[in-house]
């Protein structure tokens, strides 16, 4: 064969690739180890908190020129894992830390309630906690059994692992394996759209999102829980019984700009951002 062997070409190609990667590798932001020294904060985790931290980060950047706050999604568990492994400076976790994550430091920045929603056309105005639990267990499967019309109930549940599901299940005394769902959804907005599109559906989502959508025309109704009406204000006052905190987590006690950002996120200066996104600021 006259041409150089394939092997040689492969080596040349690989060499070019590696050669390109090395200089960029050393100059890249936010890769590998946490980069507090150079003024970039990597924050990853829950997609629920991501828009909020993104906005808080932008306001923080305006106060501290030279700092870059980079927010990425990936889920609460990934946020905790990345914080622990040093791939991120701060993790976003939209639930309380569990036992395996007890080694991390958590800082609550907002609260979020969980409420049950039905379609606005559904004549049923409220359900007792026992009834809701029975519906989700599949013991009640027709609206007429709880005072509504004669239609099968479409039960909407959240996917496993979501903190909303865990809080819902814990409050109503359900094991997730007991729940008989007709539709399983991922995000809050998907839940709202599903219920809004089906007059016989029942589901549960974050209160803030539901309230905002309802006030802007979505045909849903928020049901009270434990006798308390589902309103963001009632979550803030503590009267509403089903809620969760949104947390920022770090591996070690935070310092430097990470600490400044966390303090900023917990300060009253960002309460308007929190409320804009329909979460509940925590009293200091």
């Amino acid at each position: 064969m006259n041409s150089p062997p394939t092997g040689l070409w492969i080596v040349v190609l690989l060499g070019c690739c590696i050669g390109c990667a090395v200089p960029t590798g050393s100059g890249a932001d936010g890769s590998g180890a946490a980069a507090t020294a150079s003024g970039t904060l990597q924050i990853t985790g829950s997609s629920t908190i991501a828009p909020l931290i993104s906005e808080i980060g932008k306001r923080f950047e305006r106060r501290h020129p030279g700092v870059r706050v980079e927010v990425q999604m990936g889920g609460s568990s990934r946020g905790a894992a990345d914080a622990r492994r040093g791939l991120a400076d701060i993790g976003m976790v939209s639930r309380a830390l569990n036992e395996e994550e007890a080694d991390l430091h958590a800082f609550a920045i907002a609260a979020d309630g969980v409420c049950v929603i039905v379609h606005a056309d559904n004549p049923v105005a409220s359900l007792s906690d026992r009834q809701i639990a029975a519906i989700y267990r599949g013991e009640i499967d027709n609206w007429k059994q709880v005072g509504g019309s004669d239609h099968a109930i479409t039960v909407v549940n959240k996917a496993e692992g979501r903190s909303t599901l865990e809080i819902f299940a814990e409050y109503f005394g359900l094991e997730s394996s007991q729940i008989h769902a007709d539709v399983i959804i991922g995000d809050n907005r998907q839940g709202i759209k599903t219920v809004a599109g089906d007059p016989n559906a029942i589901g549960y989502v974050s209160i803030g999102t539901a309230q905002w959508d309802r006030d802007h025309g979505a045909p849903i109704r928020l049901l009270p829980a434990g006798g308390v009406e589902a309103r963001v204000q009632h979550v803030a006052s503590g009267r509403y019984p089903i809620s969760r905190t949104l947390n920022l987590v770090t591996r070690t006690q935070p310092s430097g700009i990470a600490k400044q950002l966390i303090d900023f996120a917990q300060s009253p200066e960002v309460h308007d951002l929190i409320e804009e996104l329909s979460f509940v600021p925590l009293p200091r």
């Binding site: 999604m73 609460s76 991922g186």
Partner: protein
């Protein structure tokens, strides 16, 4: 060794380039195997034999049965391909042989556009528009049928455009010759053009099917996502891809590894389906059609 030196050099360079594809696939497969090893080792056949999918962070508690979702993926893919393949071929034939030039141009433009619409938009449309319509047949509207329709819609452009390119490459002399012999338009298409373009048609269907198997966002929004073997078109299903998308962000240790194992399984299934289709193509090809 070829007549010209340059051909040898160019051939060598190109051969190395094409190995990139193999290296890529190898890396991805290797990556999947690596990440799923813990699950494969501890769970092993439980991934198929467990009756349900209630993953827990440790292997002893919880069940990790993938079978309902395997069926879900197969059902959605098969349905989507069954819808999109004839529709795509029909559209391509329409564009090439039946439509006036300006109609064909517009139709093609529309289809090209649809190849680029994000799956989020398709999913959203399915969630807000299509599902309520299907719900009128059988509430709720989040089931296998809706999934098949949406995914079929999504892969239609791929099938149609590739098949059309194949149809366009059929030598004009064949068509003119057949017309001179007095064959009607449909006869020409059915007996001369389609067989000649068979290779391209299979390519289009294969690419479409590959896309269908890998589709994630849209199926999450319309299929219902309940882990259950569907017993009819109106049962909710969860595909393997939807499962990965829904749970990856929240999964730890063995659960995460099990998700990667499902990804590996998906790859094997897809490879199997594609190889089967190509075997069919090889069996029937005699003449030089691509």
């Amino acid at each position: 060794m070829s007549r010209f030196r340059v051909d040898d050099w160019v051939g060598g360079i190109l051969r190395s380039l094409s190995l990139v594809a193999c290296v890529l696939v190898g890396s991805i497969a290797g990556f999947l195997v690596l990440e799923s090893l813990p699950a494969l080792r501890t769970l092993g056949p439980r991934l198929i034999t467990d009756s349900q999918w209630y993953p827990a962070a440790d292997a002893t508690g919880g069940s990790f049965g993938l079978l309902p979702m395997i069926v879900g993926t197969l059902a959605v893919t098969a349905g989507a391909v069954l819808l999109a393949a004839p529709a795509g071929v029909a559209s391509a034939v329409f564009c090439q042989f039946y439509a006036p030039r300006w109609v064909a141009a517009w139709y093609r433009k529309l289809i090209e556009l649809l190849a680029g619409i994000p799956s989020v938009v398709y999913g959203f449309w399915g969630l807000v528009v299509l599902a309520p319509q299907v719900a009128r047949l059988h509430p709720p509207g989040f089931n296998l049928l809706t999934g098949m329709l949406i995914v079929g819609l999504m892969i239609l452009p791929t099938v149609m455009l590739v098949v059309e390119a194949a149809l366009a490459a059929v030598p004009r002399s064949y068509i003119v010759g057949a017309a001179a012999l007095g064959l009607g338009r449909w006869s020409i298409v059915r007996n001369i053009v389609l067989p000649e373009a068979r290779g391209g048609i299979i390519t289009g269907v294969v690419l479409g099917m590959a896309r269908a198997v890998g589709e994630t966002m849209a199926v999450v929004m319309v299929c219902g996502n309940v882990v259950r073997v569907p017993r009819g078109l109106f049962d909710p299903v969860r595909t393997l891809t939807a499962n990965i998308a829904l749970e990856m962000g929240y999964a730890l240790s063995i659960h995460r590894s099990a998700l990667f194992a499902s990804g590996l399984l998906l790859l094997v299934m897809a490879a199997g389906m594609i190889l089967a289709l190509e075997w069919v193509q090889r069996q029937s090809v005699g003449q030089g059609a691509g």
